[in-house]
Amino acid sequence: MRRRRTEPLTVLFAALGGLLLLFIAAPLLWTLGAVSPAALMAALGEGEVRRAITLTLWASLVATVLALLTGVPLAYLLARHDFPGKRFVEGLIDVPIVVPHSAAGIALLLLFGREAIVGRLLAPLGLRFVAAVPGIVIAMLFVSLAFLVDAARDGFAAIDPRLERVARTLGASPWQAFRSIALPLAWRSILSGMLMMWARGLSEFGAVIILAYHPMVAPVLIFERFEAYGLDAALPVAALMILISLAVFVLLRMTTRRPEGRVR
C-alpha cells in the first residue's frame, strides 16, 4: 500500500496557523526573556509595584465575587427559564465585551462620577468611585462580568433539568434543589468562569484609567512607567503581569479539564 501523504492543503493551513501562534508566543516569551530574574526581584521589591499588583489582584477578586453573587442567579434563570426579552438580556450581558473600554469608562463615570446620580447617592455610604478603589472594581466588573455569566449559564444549561425535578419529588425545595444538584454540577463551569473573569479584570486598563488613574493598578503602572521613563522601566512590571496572567491561565486550564473517571 502507498503511504498516505499529508495533504498539501493541510500543510498550507498549518503554516498559516503556525505564523499566528508564533505571533502570540514570541512577544510574550521575548518580554520574559528580556528581563533578568534579578530585575524581576528588584521590581517586586519596590513598594509601588507590590502595591499596584496587590491592588489589581484584590480589586479584580472583589469584582468577581460581586458578579458571582448576582451573575450566577442570573445565569441560572437564563439557563432554566424562557421569558420575553431573554435574547435581549443575553445580548446585553455581552455588550461590555464589544464596547471600547475607554468608552465604557466614560459611561461609568457619567453615572458614578462625584456629581452624577449614583455617585451622589452612594457618597453618604462612604463609597467614592472616582480616583478610588470602588471605581476600579466597577470598571473591572463592567468589562469582565460576561465571562462569568456566560460560563455559568452554559454550565447550568448542560445539566438535565429533570435532575432537579427528581430532587423536588424527593422533598427538596427549589433552593435545596439548586444548592444540592445544580450548583455542584455546574461548579466547574462557574469556577472557570470566575478565573476567566478574574484574569480579564486583572488586565483591564481602558475603563480603569478613566475612573481611577490613582490608586494605580498594575496595567496603569506599566503605562505610566512607559510614558515617563520608557521601555526599560516598564519591562519588569510587564513581565511580572505576564507571569501572573499565565499562572491564572494554567489554573484555568486545570479546572476546565474533564475530571478523571469512567463515563458510559
Partner: protein
C-alpha cells in the same frame, strides 16, 4: 408503606402547542395502573403534572381525598423514576438513595439503615460506593427505584422505566417491579408504550391515544374487549392469555388456561403469559391434520372485515382471533355462529 388513592378531575395538561383532553381518572389505593400510549402521547407530561413538576392548565388533583393541585412537588410524597434513570452524577449510589432521607432530616444512622434495607431489597448492596457513571442500565434503574422508594412515596410514578434496558434486564426488572408492588402495596402509575408490560404488570390499564383517554379497565378488558375501534386498532389483536406452565419433558411444556391447555416450546414451570399473533392461527372448516401442535374447535363470535384482511373471533373458549384474507373469508363462506377449527404451532406461542 401504603398506597394513596389518586383522583384526576378534568386535569388539563398542556405544553407549547401540545395538549391533552381534560383527564378524569380515579386510581384506587394500592393499584398498579399502567398507562399505555404511543411515544409522544404526552404520558410523561401527565406523570410530571401528577408529581407537581408542571402546573396543570386546568382541573384538579386529589390524593387520598385531599386536593393537591397547588401543592409543590416536595410536599406530595410521590416517587418519580425516569426512563433514563437521572441519578445524581456527583453523588455515590448510597448518597443518591439517601438524598430524600437527608431532605427529611433523618439522622445519619437512620439513613444508613434505610439505605441498606433498600439496597438489600433491590439487590444493589455491592454498588453503594460506586458512582452512577459506572453503573449498567439495569443497575442504574434499580438505584433510581431505591432512591424513589426511600421517601416512602404514597404514589410511585414510573416513566417508561424499562424502555431503555436490554431485553433480558427488562424482563428481570419487570419481575422486580411486580414483587415490589406485591410487597409494599403502594400505588403505582407506570407509563409505557409496551403492551407486554401493561398486560403483565397492570391491575388496571389506561389507553391514551392522540391526546384522549380512550379506555380504562383490567388488562383483560382492554386487550380482549376494546371499547372502541380506536383502542382495538391501537392495541391491535394480541391473543393474550395467562396460565400455568407444566413441563412435559420432551422440550415442550403445557400451558393450562381455564378451559384448555396449549403446547408451547421450551420447558418451564409456573405462571406465564402468552400471546399468539393472529396471522399464526389457521382457520378451517374441517379438523386440521398438520404439524401444528395446537388445534381446537370453536364457534365464530365475530367477523370484522377490513377490506383486504378480515379478523375472525373464535370462541373455544377462550376467544382466539385469527386474521385471514378477505378472499378466503368469502371462499370459506364463514358466518358468525358457525363452528370452525383453529390451529397454531407450538413455536407460534410467545411466552412472556
Amino acid at each position: 408503606m401504603s398506597g394513596g388513592a389518586l383522583r384526576l378531575e378534568a386535569l388539563e395538561v398542556r405544553l407549547e402547542g401540545f395538549r391533552l383532553a381534560p383527564l378524569t381518572l380515579a386510581v384506587e389505593a394500592g393499584t398498579y395502573l399502567v398507562i399505555v400510549g404511543p411515544t409522544g402521547a404526552g404520558k410523561t407530561l401527565i406523570l410530571e403534572t401528577i408529581a407537581g413538576l408542571r402546573r396543570p392548565a386546568g382541573g384538579q388533583l386529589f390524593l387520598d381525598g385531599a386536593e393537591i393541585t397547588a401543592l409543590p412537588p416536595e410536599r406530595r410524597q410521590t416517587g418519580f423514576v425516569y426512563q433514563d434513570y437521572l441519578l445524581f452524577p456527583h453523588l455515590t449510589v448510597a448518597e443518591n438513595i439517601a438524598y430524600g432521607l437527608r431532605r427529611r432530616g433523618l439522622r445519619r444512622r437512620e439513613r444508613e439503615t434505610r439505605v441498606e434495607a433498600l439496597a438489600a431489597m433491590l439487590g444493589i448492596e455491592p454498588l453503594l460506593d460506586r458512582r452512577p457513571a459506572t453503573l449498567s442500565g439495569g443497575e442504574a434503574q434499580r438505584v433510581a427505584l431505591a432512591r424513589a422508594l426511600a421517601v416512602e412515596p404514597r404514589l410511585l410514578l414510573l416513566d417508561e422505566p424499562l424502555s431503555a434496558l436490554d431485553p433480558a434486564t427488562r424482563l428481570r426488572l419487570r419481575g422486580v417491579l411486580a414483587r415490589l408492588h406485591d410487597a409494599l402495596g403502594m400505588t403505582i402509575i407506570h407509563v409505557t408504550h409496551d403492551f407486554e408490560e401493561a398486560f403483565t404488570l397492570g391491575d388496571r390499564v389506561a389507553v391514551i391515544h392522540e391526546g384522549q383517554l380512550l379506555q380504562v379497565g383490567t388488562p383483560e378488558e382492554v386487550f380482549r374487549r376494546p371499547n372502541s375501534e380506536q383502542v382495538a386498532r391501537f392495541v391491535g389483536v394480541q391473543n393474550l392469555f395467562r396460565g400455568r406452565l407444566q413441563p412435559l419433558g420432551d422440550g415442550y411444556s403445557r400451558l393450562h388456561l381455564d378451559d384448555i391447555s396449549i403446547t408451547v416450546v421450551g420447558e418451564a414451570e409456573g405462571e406465564a403469559h402468552l400471546s399468539i399473533r393472529p396471522e399464526e392461527i389457521v382457520l378451517s372448516r374441517e379438523p386440521l391434520h398438520s404439524s401444528a401442535r395446537n388445534s381446537f374447535r370453536g364457534r365464530i363470535t365475530a367477523i370484522e372485515d377490513r377490506g383486504t384482511l378480515a379478523y375472525v373471533a373464535v370462541e373455544v373458549p377462550p376467544v382466539f382471533t385469527s386474521v385471514i384474507t378477505h378472499r378466503s373469508l368469502e371462499e370459506m363462506g364463514l358466518r358468525v355462529g358457525e363452528e370452525v377449527h383453529i390451529a397454531f404451532k407450538a413455536s407460534a406461542v410467545h411466552l412472556f
